[in-house]
Symmetry: C2
């Protein structure tokens, strides 16, 4: 059977600024839904694809460090954009997968993806949860938050934790994990509605709207009069500088994302290194791909927390391949609440 | 017996610029060399005092993070300047110390120091080494280099190591330890003579004069075509930025000092956080005071290396209290080679 496959692509490399809908185009290509004899390809009907800020870096002319990470490497304008996603097998030449299997793995921002060899897919057992959870709270967003918070920040009960972009797909979970660990957690976000959500449903001890603040150093001093022990950084820039100034001795900063620097030129953080020495601070970048071997344990722990209502799920789902580019552009305008796909 | 005790002090707080000899003055005060009955004071005739760049931070109006570290807290203009040093006990009210004992600990930039209570002194067994070694290679400089390199950088055989201010009291030892660990090590310094010393006597694999380089990022690329695994940072600023750009995945940066930022305003490093994330780099500040419990083990290991000629000692000794201020000022002009006191 042949179908018309719709996919999203960038027209050209994006320069350093925020992405616009006009940077994208929806293209179509004929696709045969059967696998050629002898091929190990798996054809997947995509159900959910993840829409994450880091993709902007792949749409730019990529820097050398990105090239070291296959999933972060550059996107060729005109071609489909790979992303973590979830779908149902339509046809398979790989004996590990059968028609109608649910799978997660690297697919594309499109309706159907031919996964070469099929070996980067994983079969999915939904365990009674909504499918979308397996991309978010039980998927890479969840593991990113967990690995970054637990493995990089090494939290102790009673410690003071700050999370930026705290209503984002990763940030909201970091804050919730911090509460499970018995930490005091404050988050920041960019709208009043998000701040209310953090303090209400998500159980953060406090939250603020960074857009209403003029001096972030004083702001953090106000929310952490006794200093911060952990900063989970999703934004970089001025917030990172202000956090370094407010860290306690032996504080840990996990750098997960730097959205303020993805689209701004010359906005780099210049933290006070004298603070870093005298307070013996650690700043560490991390990527979820280094923690994939802990995925099964993570899913088992987290599904338990979900079943007992200890973790609240934030999702922001847009429908159809046509909506992907505007959903992505919106990430940089703070439109999203929780996980977006 | 009463003597005239000469001591060095700063006339006023130093502003952000490089220190000048005119910032200092030599003062005198009458001092009674006997301990009052009932007092636990120890009076020490100072033989060597350490002259380190970090003292400049204590002479400025100190920032809040320094106040957290007692040995880094501010110096009051007009008063004696505390520093690590070595001396001989003249009189003691503390039963742990007797007249003529050799001691190391916190004394002042002066001829005699009354150490209150005597409890921050440690009795010294010279073990047949020159006394000065116990302030340098077997003292805090040595332990700083060792703890920073071994505990923070966690070197593995064959890794590529870069050290800045590599002819300094700490840097020269880091490079030598790196060779003992089987690493490939390159250092930078500020004169041709120092570069020759690094490549010759000290056994660095290579070295360069940073003052002859215009683009540090390319310079490091030239010396580390396969990237750096470890950067031991004594200088901060542009060298830190260039290092982040040249680090390999999972690279570690130990921040020991930031001499470029001690005297310059607005010279802060703004490393590329995108590199820090994609390469999962760790930047960690440290202080030797957190590793003092390992001092005995360190001395035992290092005295062994000294006896077998595996470590070469660089010293730069100036004579007399009168010479301290010019020796200190010279540190910021790159005058010193190795440990200065």
């Amino acid at each position: 059977m042949e179908v018309t496959n719709k996919y999203v692509t960038v027209k050209t490399h994006i320069d350093g600024s925020s992405p616009q809908e006009s940077d994208f185009e929806l293209k179509t290509a004929a696709l045969n839904l059967s696998v050629e004899p002898g091929s190990k390809d798996v054809i997947v009907k995509n159900l959910y694809v993840s829409i994450d800020p880091y993709q902007i870096n792949r749409m730019k002319r990529v820097c050398s460090s990105q090239k070291l990470v296959s999933t972060a490497d550059g996107i060729t304008p005109g071609q489909a954009i790979s992303a973590h996603g979830l779908g149902r097998v339509v046809a398979s030449g790989n004996p590990e997968f059968e028609k109608d299997d649910l799978v997660v793995g690297l697919i594309n921002w499109e309706e159907y993806t031919i996964v070469k060899g099929g070996n980067i897919l994983r079969k999915l057992d939904p365990m009674g949860f909504p499918l979308s959870y397996h991309l978010g709270v039980l998927g890479l967003s969840g593991l990113t938050a967990y690995a970054g918070f637990v493995e990089v920040c090494k939290p102790k009960k009673g410690e003071k934790v700050f999370v930026s972009a705290a209503c984002g797909s990763v940030g909201n979970l970091v804050g919730q994990y911090a509460k499970l660990f018995g930490c005091h957690v404050v988050g920041c976000a960019g709208t009043k509605q998000k701040v209310e959500l953090l303090k209400g449903k998500l159980g953060f001890d406090d939250a603020f709207n960074y857009k209403e603040e003029t001096d972030l150093k004083s702001t953090l001093k106000r929310y952490f009069p006794d200093g911060m022990d952990i900063y989970f950084d999703n934004v970089g820039g001025k917030m990172l500088e202000a956090s370094v100034a407010n860290m306690n001795p032996f504080g840990r900063i996990a750098v997960c994302g730097i959205i303020s620097e993805y689209t701004g030129i010359g906005e780099r953080a210049a933290p006070d290194m004298i603070d870093i020495v005298y307070k013996r601070l650690k700043i560490q970048g991390f990527l979820v791909i280094d923690y994939l071997k802990g995925m099964d344990d993570f899913i088992s722990t987290m599904s338990n927390h979900l079943s007992t209502g200890k973790i609240h799920v934030l999702e922001d789902i847009s429908q159809g391949v046509e909506s992907i580019s505007s959903a992505f552009v919106g990430l940089f305008q703070g439109d999203n609440v929780g996980k977006r796909w």
